[in-house]
Amino acid sequence: MGPSIGGRFRVSPNEFMFRKASHLLARVRRRAVEVVLAAVIAAGLVFGLATPERVDAQAPAAPAAAPAGPRSSQKAYDAQTAASDPSTPGPVQPIPFSHALHAGEYKIECLYCHTGTDKSRAAGVPSVELCMGCHTHFGGDMEGVQTLKKYWDEQLPVPWNQIYRLPEHVKFRHNRHVSAGVDCQRCHGPIETMDKVYMTKDTIWWPWLLPSTKPEMGWCINCHRENQASQDCLTCHY
């Protein structure tokens, strides 16, 4: 509807998290010096030698701390390269995270990272902490993971680029669809094959020869029709 929707007034969880993040940012800035020092000393202790580059705050202190655990597979490296390739569809993310690798190759359950998606209206975007849960042990040698570590060290959230977004007046509930047994792929496409996530252009032909691509209303309605789900306007708009 009016400008209030897209505009400044969007009161999505994200917005608040962003405010929260900016608070953190402020705190971290105050502490920047300590953080760097800590990193340096840590590095020094680990390798007994601290080269000037590592003192530089800009250069990720992470690689130094990195190679914990085994060297990652070639697959992983390929996935990372693919995920950071701007020529493929979809925006390049701050971290070249590959769903193909995690969901496809390693067969990690979607809900493992996207917690709360089955409980809440909003899909849970994994917290940095959650990523670190594994990545303190694995993939330390990979650039992507090192970037992640950097975020963790600085206690910053990862500013992911949003791919799927509905206007405020659409009250989509992830939990309902999960518990109704709709696969994530139904809306998010073959996510387990995507190194870099992009919006797939599914098309339906309802009503009569009118293409509707996701996530447009007709597309939702169509699915609701097929599954005898409610088509009452108030189900999604209030």
Binding site: M1, G2, W208, L210, P211, S212, M217, G218, I221
Partner: protein, 461 residues
Amino acid sequence: MTPPPGESIAAMIRQTPVPPDSQTNRDVMNIFMTTPGLGWLLLVGICLGGLGGGAAVWIYQIYKGLGIAGYSHPIFWGAYIVTFVFWVGIAHAGTLISAILFLFRARWRNAINRSAEAMTIFAVFTAQLFLGIHVGRIWKAYFILPYPNQRALWVNFKSPLLWDTFAISTYTLTSLIFFYVGLLPDLAIARDRTTGWRKALYGSLALGWQGTSRQWKSHNRTVLHLSGLATPLVLSVHSVVSWDFAMAIVPGWHATIFAPYFVAGAIFSGFAMVLTVMIPVRRIFSLEHILTNYHFENMCRFLLLTSTIVTYAYFIEYFIAWYSGVEAEKTAFYLRLFGPYWLSTWIMIVCNGVIPQLFWFKKLRTHIPTVFVISTLINVGMWFERYVIIITGLSREFNPAVWGHYTPTWYELMIVAGSFSFFSILFLIFLKLFPVIPISEVKELVIHERAHASGQPAGAH
């Protein structure tokens, strides 16, 4: 009223010196062939100013919101809808004159039907503007069209507003075709008498009209059928508009008489507008011998008739309010006369009910200045009629907790003024581009007259 037989028309026309047909042509052609005079330019300038102002306000309103108008809860409709209904009303004369009077063979219509039709079209255009001006989210207004869409959403065919959408668009289309078909022969004449861009224009518009008897035959057929087609529209359009109100439960709106009441009102205002416009035109372009007093007098008779109908409707409204015994209705109508809007109400009653009765006197209805003044007053009165119906209805509804008061803001008035400018500009351009008098039809009359004069069968020339 029943039209007078053709003879008497001829008789009327005989009073004036009979011009040779080429003369008629020249008279009419001179109007729009001659380069625009200073006065014309001045008028256009003024109107452009008004139009610009209106447009600016509209844009500001889209940006800022309808709040700049005088609306409040509970008065959700105001000057915009009032003016919309006003213009739709104006739009009625044209079709009535061209279609119904054509079918009635009321020959005297010929001289005025062209301008009346033009007015119809311009009025409808103007009216349609207000549908856009009135809605809160014009950037979403396309929702009101029943177009197939991927959302699988449809429109509500129960809503009078939707009926409006259809009624108005149908009316526009039909009137446009009617206007154009009638214009064809004259365009041909124009084509033959002009050079340069005009020739090109008329040439292309004339669709290669040669005036062969075959073309005339089919032309007349078309006109006949179109009139048949258009006649119900005269009644339907304003009936539908009236249902916008009659279908609502608002006290003062919810009355069965609304459809005939509005149609009569529309014709009333339409004729008034034609007079208001054509009297100056005739004067300026000295067309007295074509647009004779006889034409005007007939229209005055029409005004008299419709005025009486409208006045009757006013009375009936009150009767029903009293007869219903519903306190809300009675209060609404009581407050119409003696409440905060008494002035508007009395303007309406005097201008539409009382003054037109002067037309009972032949002296007055043939005295052109008087006719001009009265017709103008009628226009004012008819605008106020809609104002009274809409505003007093909404301001005193069922729940006294939300009785409100409405006064139009300057923004609204500027937009209303803009609409008048818009209408005028269109008409002024029309004056300078197309024959304001239907040459061929007038000539037809003249020929008939000659035939009678020389006792020979018509058309033998």
